[in-house]
Amino acid sequence: MDNNTITARATTFFKKMEARAGEIMEEAKISGQLVADADKDPYKRSYLQFKGAIIAQFTSIIQKGSTTFQTQVMPNARGLEMIALSQLYNDWNAKIVSMMNHAFEQVEERNLEQEYADIMESYRLAIEKFVCKQCGAKLTMDKFYFQASYIACEFCNTQNTFDPGSKARMMEHIARPLAASRCLKQYERFLEERSQSGRKAAASAYEDYLKAMIQEMDNLLPGLSEQHQNFYERMMNDYNKLGIAW
């Protein structure tokens, strides 16, 4: 009789806890995208703070379930019922962890193509008002400058300093993830090759992916081809020597 009471109580308790976790997951699913979109910080700090808080709530539920199971459920259970209760707890725990892991999977944390478009728009505005400090002539740019640069006036030869603005400076930071996202097809081909034929055999597919990514990085950040080539060599070296595909 006592045992039945424990089982019934545990079942009710874990069901209630699961329902609460479900509410949190729903809240995360509804609000996650809104918070991510509203957060204009390039590092998405507000969104990450929101995500941290939601995960903390899940963790607190998992912690309470675990403590209750260890200190109140198991010490009062007997014989075969302990096995059934263990199963109940394990299933519950797996479900909550899964909810926590899936709560944010639909949220697009960053839209790199959109960030790229914003960068280029602010850059366009910066070059539009960039005139020679000496003669006032409109200065033409031969390429995309993502950092402050010296630009000589073609009319009076005065050296001007061009500041592309803080948004354009971000290009250096998003170039790699943006380039990688544009080479997803090659990356997936590499993953497929690796899972089918192993790491060594997949080296050429990895090389194809890296070369495509480096090409994209060259396009995004002109003037850094040599550095990107060094980066390519480092990545290939890490793959061949250490087996790491970054």
Partner: protein, 263 residues
């Protein structure tokens, strides 16, 4: 109880690993590896010297650590960019983290913005491309010693952080972090606990210690580069994290999400 069980299991595994290494030490080292470095690693590990084991392990793979990294003046990767050396760049980056502007750094170093920008790109790329980790370790060492930099060491942010903590108190915290490793790891624990409870850890530091993340982390480079200290402080940090987590959960309402559900 479970923690104790895992601890003793951990201890047993450690003994087993040491025995296994002892056996392996008797065997020949395969070609292509630095036999001495490998033996040094085993010896250090068996003596419980984590840092020694790490140094020897890194050496056997041709990698540098903060203790073995060298600033060789003939190394092409160590050449100054527009006169901005790796020491200048690391100290500048540390100061920017403390809240100084790039403009302040440029004026103090006597360079112009395009020079600083190019130096920044070049040093960052050198660190990224160097698979011996020499450049990044030289950089890290200078980053931790930013306050010793001749031109940048004394630089104070133009726009100081807004906090109710008095300047004197903030300095006290900073001095204590420099000398008291327990305090440093406690604050790291608080920072982790804050983020995990949805609190902006960086803001928490400003509000409670009057310091930025960069200032706090700058004091700990010497601790973080020493595996023996890291290993020694791991449990302490976990314990402190649990304490802060409980406190933040109560303050932030994150802990009480299922308080009304009773068994």
């Amino acid at each position: 109880m479970f923690k104790k069980l895992f601890k003793s299991l951990g201890g047993n595994l450690e003994d087993m690993a040491k025995d296994l290494m002892k056996d392996q030490q008797q065997q020949d080292i395969p070609n292509g590896h630095d036999a001495n470095a490998h033996k040094d690693q085993l010896k250090a590990y068996m003596n419980g010297d984590m840092q020694g084991a790490f140094e020897a392990g890194a050496a056997s793979a041709g990698m540098k650590t903060s203790n073995t990294a060298k600033e060789d003046p003939n190394d092409p990767n160590m050449q100054a960019v527009h006169g901005i050396s790796i020491a200048d760049y690391a100290a500048g980056a540390a100061k920017i983290g403390e809240g100084c502007t790039e403009e302040q750094i440029c004026i103090a170093l006597g360079v112009e913005q395009p020079m600083w920008d190019e130096a920044q790109t070049t040093w960052n790329n050198r660190m990224r491309d160097d698979n011996t980790f020499n450049v990044i370790n030289v950089y890290t060492n200078y980053f931790g010693k930013a306050k010793e930099h001749g031109k940048l060491g004394g630089l104070i942010p133009n726009a100081a952080v807004k906090t109710d903590v008095s300047d004197g108190k903030a300095k006290e915290h900073l001095a204590r972090l420099e000398t008291d490793k327990h305090y440093f790891f406690e604050i790291q624990a608080a920072l982790q606990a804050a983020y995990e409870n949805g609190i902006d850890g960086a803001q928490w530091l400003i509000d409670n210690l009057g310091l930025t993340v960069a200032q706090v982390n700058g004091t700990g480079t010497k601790y973080m580069n020493d595996f023996n200290i890291m290993a020694e402080m791991m449990d302490y940090q976990d314990q402190k994290k649990a304490e802060y987590s409980k406190r933040f959960a109560e303050e932030n309402g994150t802990g009480g999400v299922a308080d009304d559900i009773e068994f």
